[in-house]
């Protein structure tokens, strides 16, 4: 079973992301982190197969998390789930090595569109 870490400072949004994963057909083992720092600790303690992270979080942002993980030698696949889906943000995410960027609001179909090709 794929193990995913969902990082978002909003509990409501974490719940929506987890619900959407299920609706998209992904019966994954889910852990949660309330910000980038918690997510970093969670990866250090037990590296998941994939991370779905918000971008705009207090303290350590999703981008800070991605950069820090790479600095520490973790190549854990990370996809952003963020309300900021501009071409500029998408380009930055790609340049920094993010797997994909899902813009909020999202649907189960939007999850499948980016996740299925990665799983294939």
């Amino acid at each position: 079973m794929i193990r995913v870490l969902v990082a978002d400072d909003s509990r409501v949004m974490r719940q929506i992301v987890i619900r959407t994963l299920r609706q998209a057909g992904y019966d994954w083992d889910v852990r949660e982190a309330a910000d980038g720092a918690q997510a970093l600790d969670a990866v250090r303690a037990d590296e998941p197969d994939v991370i779905l992270s918000d971008w705009n979080m207090p303290g350590m942002t999703g981008m800070d998390l991605l950069r820090r993980l790479r600095q520490e030698g973790f190549d854990t696949p990370l996809g952003f789930v963020t309300s900021e889906g501009s071409p500029e943000m998408r380009a930055l995410a790609e340049r920094e090595g993010a797997l994909f960027l899902i813009a909020k609001p999202f649907t189960p179909e939007a999850f499948r569109e980016v996740i299925d090709p990665v799983l294939a």
Partner: protein, 150 residues
């Protein structure tokens, strides 16, 4: 720098938000065609945008409507009470999604602050209204505004 954020764009953002994440189906919102009623127990959620253009995206509704929004987002039954924490989280996320998508309409995106929620309208001296959208969600009104902040 001045900018134009069209009401149609903001309405489309709200339509997508309700279809995808609140109700799970399209067609649950439409334009509010009556005059905006006086708020009796309002809640305001907003995010600030900074960059070449600076502004604020604000969502306002009655607390009872914000409670229903939180229930819908959390998948709670109609009779279940909504905690203040969940209300702030859920309604803040509504503003966060609106603000993030407004930011994506700008030529250069800049940065966005974290969502804030309060029962008193935030004061913005010198700001100017860029656009206002009134949304009808099952007979309840929501006001979405974008303001230019000098």
């Amino acid at each position: 720098m001045t900018t134009m954020i069209a009401g149609d764009d903001v309405y489309a953002i709200a339509e997508d938000l309700f279809a995808a994440m609140v109700d799970g189906e399209p067609g649950t919102v439409r334009p509010w065609t009556l005059p905006l009623p006086d708020w009796t127990d309002p809640v305001h959620a907003w995010v600030d945008l900074h960059g070449d253009w600076s502004g604020r995206a604000v969502v306002t509704t009655e607390r009872a409507t914000a409670d229903d929004l939180a229930r819908a987002l959390l998948g709670l039954p109609a009779e279940e009470a909504v905690s203040e924490e969940d209300l702030q989280d859920a309604f803040g996320e509504v503003a966060n999604v609106v603000g993030g998508n407004v930011k994506s309409l700008l030529p250069r995106t800049g940065t966005m602050g974290l969502p804030q929620v309060a029962s008193v309208a935030p004061l913005l001296p010198g700001s100017a209204l860029v656009t206002q959208v009134l949304l009808d969600w099952g007979g309840r009104v929501l006001e979405l505004t974008v303001r230019d902040v000098p």
